[in-house]
Amino acid sequence: MSTVNQSPKRLTSDAMSASLARADQRVTAAPLGHALVALAEQDERVLGLSADLAKYTDLHILRDALPERFYQIGMAEQALLGAAAGLAMEGFIPFASTYSVFATRRAYDFLCLDIAEANLNVNMVCALPGLTTGYGPSHQATEDIAILRGMPNLTIVDPADAVDIEQAVPQLAAHDGPTYMRVLRGKVPRVLDEYDYTFELGKAKLIRGGGEVLLISTGLMTERALEAAAALEEAGVDTAVLHVPTLKPLDEETIRRELGRDRLVLTCENHTIIGGLFDAIAHMLVRDGTVRRITPVGLPDEFLDAGALPTLADRYGVSTDKLVERVLGLRRSQDA
């Protein structure tokens, strides 16, 4: 099912199992599920758990391929994270899946005290980050990073595409401590393999150089930043893209280095502009004593509307087109 409804009738909300890819894109089906199967075949400590959302977080791939390595917990997110903590205490490496909203809002206390305080190797893999569903606030995890950034010990990853997800999975398991990854599910675009790129936990990577504009992006906004950079190039604006898949700990060194050059800078995130990438960078700069204008592109400090994703992405300024417009507008006001 495509979320981009191209029929002439009115745009409708996306389906529960919808993926974000456009029809003309290179995609990989269920990259999280397949990466977990590959990992579980090599390491018998690796387990999958879900709270009645295996099918909607791609963990059904693991469930069906290696049923003895999967636990269905039922729709009980607190019990999910508590059980994951217990399994990790016994030396296993659980990957626990639900939607981002339920892991962060419903089960926060269990994540915080049973998993993070104990610094256990539990990996939360959670779907529907930010604006990736038209269902409205109950399903849109617009503030999950803001909720979680204050949690000690927790590593936070917002992958851009299937390449990031596949490469992140073994690194999350190898990391000795709790992790939270925002999952893109279904047919997930493959974007980063067109560049000289590998995912390294904790590292930001310059995907594309450019002398006039710097887009610092995370998660699926990196794909839109790359599309925007290509469009801006045609408009004669030389644009760099720095991808920051690990939001905590932040790769301050790389970000500082890229900010050292005099360019128009925007941050791009699939998250409220409060408490995410923009705030993390601002925090670093103020600590450094650096004054610097950075324009945040992200979701507004509002409960978002229900509706079709393309409409909503435009409405909230996070579509590729709106990003391009934003950059061009900022350049015009700079010139003025």
């Binding site: 409708t12 879900s50 009645d52 269905q72 038209g134 409205g136 606030p137 509706g307």
Partner: protein
Amino acid sequence: MSTHQPAAAPARVADSADEHRLQRIREAAQRIRANALVQAEVQGQGYIGQALDIADVLAVLYADQLRLRPDDPTWEGRDRCLLSIGHYALALYAALAEAGVIPREELTTYATDGSRLPMSAMASYTPGVEISGGSLGHGLTIANGVALGLKRKSNDAFVYNILSDGELNEGSTWEAAAVAAHHGLDNLIAIVDFNNQQADGKSSEMLGMEPIGAKFEAFGWVTRRVDGNNVAEVLPALEELRSVEDPAPRCLVVNTKLGKGVDFLEQREKLHFMQVAPEEWKLAHDQLKEQA
């Protein structure tokens, strides 16, 4: 019907006045089903299986049991009907259209941009929708507060909470069950839709919750269990739960069938999100008309 507990013997609905009443409810149920089909067709897919399974219960409520004023959905004297299963929205919109709270013509805007009828029901969007229910396991906790508030105001209205079998997985539901019993909330009626379906598969295979009725009873609730697709069982059970004297909250477990009323959907592989082919919508409507 559960093997763990005897079926509640439904009170007899015998005389012709009652038969007339049942007939009126059955007709409302079929119109609610048709209203749900109209909406699901706009999306080409969706939670039509659930809407068809709960239509009979909604008909008993919205065409008979609920005290409401269609043109004044926030009337202080109304019975509050809280739908905690946000994704059952199209079923509730279908019932609200049947009750005259929203215009029937509006149903074709279901889940489209700018509509008052989003795919997941939200109180801020739709008249007659009391709570926003997409995050499952909230409804019964809110119902407790509404029930306490009504008592505090000496308002004799009832609070209904329609919840799903999946919501029984959530700890919050059982926290709320204990709170309701502790506070003797005899103005609260929970209706559990046991359709044996959740997102990943059959409820019984996700997390076994049987015996459901006995669990609520053990928590201190007055409990009944009936065939939720037989209005001749649902109506007397809800009437009885409204009138029993016990100073306790009341629970009706309804056994329902996904896709009820459209045979090819009843027989289709049971899925949380049922697929319906474009040419099947008309067939489904035709079947409902034949049954009428």
